[in-house]
């Protein structure tokens, strides 16, 4: 167990691995956080629970200010098929629903439920079940009810991916333990300390999707995690732990699938199309808890690190805890913070406000010193060194895409693959001219999305206008028809009256004649 050679790969994909050495080897900087056990962060006085912690529709609140809630109680329900409920991470009183700063690229605010913590941490009575007695659909339902979303940062509602197996069984489950972003070690610690939970979660997911095997891909810079998982999986033949090279972005879903199975997810399809589904190791642990103990997702592990944090480490944190509480627990900063980042340095989000809460998808909080960031490196002209071309895991030409975007030709940049870009940041990382390539791509994608939206709106307006003129036409036609009908009616009545009069007259005449004859 644990050897990558157990996976049969075609000669072609082995050759491909040799020829296309995509990716980069950024400085790991996983220590000292990775070497320290997970600590539990004490409850803060107030939790902020944004309604939008997942991909899909925001959750709908079902509590009001003044309500007392218990830990694990649902406080916002899923709004539609792609959404996730939110549960109270501890007991306390709802203080209200307000617009607060949320972790979002726009740096904007969003609606959140505010919970005043009472410190008692009273839990709702919950009940687990033996997942092996449950139907796959019931497993998916329970995962959905537990509010579980992709905890590697994608935050896609997990139950939706589990339900895919009901249409057609999905043979392969891949657990993503890559954790290829520098600094982050929350998954590493989880795999080391709670390997049994991860393996159990994986087997539950496998049952839900009707699968046959689990491949757990872990980067080979985490030998302890690999050993722990392999030991926990020893009695489960269907689970295989595979060491993958430490290379960014190995933890990207498509790259990991490709490495482990030799298959490529079609550009216009998804993993399930090739019989694979990928979940993060943290998600598997959360699913284990939801099924075995009926415990919804209300806490997660977060790596607090970066050169400006005094004692970097991993914390188990209730969802909704403000970032400042994590920083304080880690001894504060050295005062040299050039940039705060939520998530990893490659794809994370820069934040400016430490009142922002930890949400379901937040795996890291980094306080980077100036020399750890891209600050101070002015962008120069592209020297066509092709570093970005060689490093792009998708096989794009970042230099050409950026040049086209700069010249305003967004359409041409789409033609050469802009929409296939996964925004992994590898190209920007390697560029010796420090060109913010990903910034260009994100800008262009946003611009195209709003153009599409604008076009949709125009189409909608056009449709409305068409409907209106159709309605008016119809009304006019109906009016005309009605008028015609009325006219016909009148004429008929007239004719009838005339006929009647004629008949009367005839009758009178006849009577007269009778009279005269008698």
């Amino acid at each position: 167990m644990g050897s990558p050679d157990q996976i049969p790969l075609s000669a072609a994909s082995r050759l491909g691995r040799l020829l296309r050495r995509w990716g980069v080897h950024p400085d790991g900087r996983k220590h000292p956080a990775a070497g320290t056990e997970i600590a539990v962060l004490p409850l803060p006085p107030r939790l902020t629970l944004p309604l939008m912690q997942h991909i899909g529709a925001p959750a709908r609140p079902i509590v009001a200010a003044g309500d007392r809630v218990l830990r694990g109680q649902m406080i916002a329900e899923a709004a539609g098929p792609i959404s996730a409920p939110i549960h109270a991470p501890t007991s306390g009183t709802i203080a209200g629903i307000a617009e607060v700063p949320v972790p979002h690229p726009s740096g904007l605010t969003g609606p959140a439920i505010l919970l005043d913590v009472d410190g008692k941490d009273e839990a709702l009575e919950t009940e687990g079940a033996d997942p092996w007695t449950l139907e796959p659909a019931e497993i998916a339902r329970r995962v959905s009810a537990a509010g579980i979303v992709g905890m590697g940062g994608a935050t896609f509602p997990s139950a939706v991916k589990l339900a895919l197996g009901q249409k057609k069984p999905i043979p392969t489950l891949i657990l993503n333990g890559g954790e290829c972003e520098p600094y982050l070690s929350c998954d590493d610690r989880l795999m080391r300390e709670r390997a049994a939970e991860v393996i159990d979660g994986a087997r539950i997911i496998l049952r839900a999707i009707g699968g046959e095997r689990v491949l757990i891909g872990v980067e080979n810079n985490k030998p302890e995690a690999i050993d722990a998982l392999a030991a926990a999986a020893a009695s489960h033949a269907e689970v295989q732990v595979v060491a993958v090279p430490s290379r960014y972005p190995m933890g990207s879903e498509k790259q990991l699938i490709n490495w482990l199975t030799g298959q490529e997810v079609p550009a216009d399809g998804r993993a399930a199309d090739i019989g694979v589904v990928v979940h993060n190791v943290g998600t598997a642990a959360a699913i284990h808890r939801a099924l075995r103990f009926g415990e919804p997702l209300t806490r997660r592990i977060v790596t607090v690190s970066g050169g400006a944090i005094r004692t970097p480490r991993n914390l188990e944190v209730r969802i909704g805890t403000p970032l400042s509480a994590l920083v304080d627990f880690c001894g504060g900063t050295t005062g040299e913070v050039a940039r705060w980042v939520m998530g990893g340095p490659m794809m994370g989000l820069s934040v400016s406000n430490l009142a922002v809460p930890i949400i379901k998808g937040s795996g890291g909080l980094l306080a980077l010193r100036e020399e750890e960031t891209a600050d101070g490196a002015d962008a120069g002209p592209c020297i066509r060194c092709a570093s970005c071309v060689g490093a792009c895991p998708i096989g794009l030409m970042p230099l050409d895409m950026a040049a086209l975007i700069r010249s305003g030709d967004l359409k041409a940049s789409v033609d050469i693959g802009l929409k296939d870009c996964i925004a992994c940041g590898t190209c920007s990382y390697v560029c010796p001219s420090h060109i913010p390539l990903v910034h260009y791509f994100n800008y262009a994608k946003g611009e195209l999305a709003s153009q599409d939206k604008g076009k949709l709106r125009q189409d909608a307006i056009k449709q409305l206008a068409e409907e209106r003129s159709a309605r008016m036409e119809r009304e006019a036609r109906e009016k005309a028809e009605a008028a015609a009908a009325r006219k016909a009616e009148r004429e008929r009545a007239k004719a009838e009256a005339a006929a009647k009069a004629a008949a009367k007259k005839a009758a009178q005449e006849a009577a007269k004649q009778e009279e005269s004859t008698t």
Partner: protein, 357 residues
């Protein structure tokens, strides 16, 4: 701290200045060997050429309203001058270096839009221009004589005064056999006494200032490959483009065609394969394109050497390939993940079928 800053929040250690610096370091051994062989005149020429390039760079950058400091410190002008000097006859007069340097930086680089925008390699374009305009000065090759070199003062007179004494200059190997061949003299007679693989490998031959020490250039090239500054594709393809046709032709008709080793060790093949064809800006940037580009440079070099009017064809070969590089890139884009070569998405049914097989 109020701005939203784009990911990634970390960048690699490599910068443009850093890359140029590594290339300069890789050039040092071969350059020193050139100085040792050709003496003070070559040192002066080297200095003058680099100074001309840097001064022109500063001037152009000022004229274009950019900040001069950064442009000069990125080292690209120094590199252009250095490479140009490497490909000049070692005792050429100072004004050759100056005219070449000004042309390289002002015309081939800044007229095309500055760093990263030029179509042609500045050093090669300047060399071709000089060769066409000043054929006499550009073909004054002298046999290296480390023991009988002029002193620093006498050398001033050579570089800044009268130029190389006629008696000391002679034709290069490639020029010699070309001249002989036009007279109908075959290789079995024209070659002996003019070529020995060991001497050529060590750089004991006529040639430009920096192109003669094939082995030191190779060492510098390997250093750059190890450092990840250049890839292996262009140099390997370049060498193959010269060696393969030379091997075939010389096997078929040894009297008419120079053998592969002689081709590799003469002229500027090593310098060009590792330091000039690999120029980022003017070479192809896709993986397949780099193979094609390198192969094209090598093949054209061999063709021009063998049948062209000039004995050495590298500068022309590289400029020709420079001109086609954008086209090569366009037609050799890598296949996008999850798509077929033509850009359509992979069909899930097909992949599943492929898996079943």
């Amino acid at each position: 701290m109020n701005t939203v800053l784009s990911s990634p929040h970390a960048i690699g250690a490599r910068s443009v200045g850093n890359v140029m610096g590594l290339v300069l370091i890789a050039l040092v051994p071969a350059t020193l060997a050139g100085f040792w062989r050709f003496g003070w005149p070559s040192v002066y020429l080297w200095l003058v050429t680099i100074l001309a390039c840097v001064a022109t760079e500063v001037l152009c950058v000022r004229l274009r309203g950019l900040s001069a400091g950064k442009a000069v410190f990125d080292g690209s002008a120094v590199l252009t001058g250095w490479l140009l000097a490497m490909s000049l006859p070692p005792w050429a007069p100072w004004w050759i270096g100056v005219v070449g340097g000004v042309f390289a930086v002002a015309i081939t680089k800044h007229l095309f839009g500055g760093l990263g925008q030029n179509l042609f390699n500045p050093a090669m374009a300047a060399r071709v221009m000089l060769l066409i305009s000043f054929p006499v000065e550009m073909t004054q090759w002298l046999l290296p004589t480390p023991d009988a070199l002029p002193g620093a003062l006498d050398a001033l007179a050579i570089t800044f005064g009268a130029g190389a004494p006629d008696a000391m200059s002679s034709a290069s190997l490639l020029g010699h056999i070309k001249a002989e061949a036009t007279k109908g003299v075959l290789l079995d007679q024209s070659l002996p006494g003019h070529y020995s693989a060991t001497a050529f490998g060590m750089g004991e031959r006529q040639g430009s200032l920096g192109e003669t020490s094939a082995l030191l250039l190779l060492a510098g090239g390997i250093f750059l490959v190890i450092k990840g500054v250049i890839g292996l594709r262009i140099p390997l393809a370049f060498l193959a483009g010269v060696v393969v046709p030379a091997a075939i032709a010389s096997a078929v008709a040894p009297d008419h065609y120079l053998g592969p080793v002689a081709h590799l060790l003469s002229g500027g093949v090593m310098l060009a394969a590792f330091f000039i064809a690999t120029d980022y800006v003017t070479s192809a940037s896709t993986p397949l394109g780099q193979w094609i580009f390198g192969l094209g440079c090598g093949l054209l070099t061999w063709i021009i050497r063998t049948w062209g009017a000039y004995p050495e064809g590298i500068a022309f070969a590289i400029m020709l390939m420079n001109a086609t590089a954008p086209l090569i890139d366009q037609y050799t884009r890598p296949r996008i993940f999850g798509r077929k070569r033509d850009g359509r998405s992979l069909n899930p049914a097909e992949t599943v079928k492929a898996r079943a097989r």
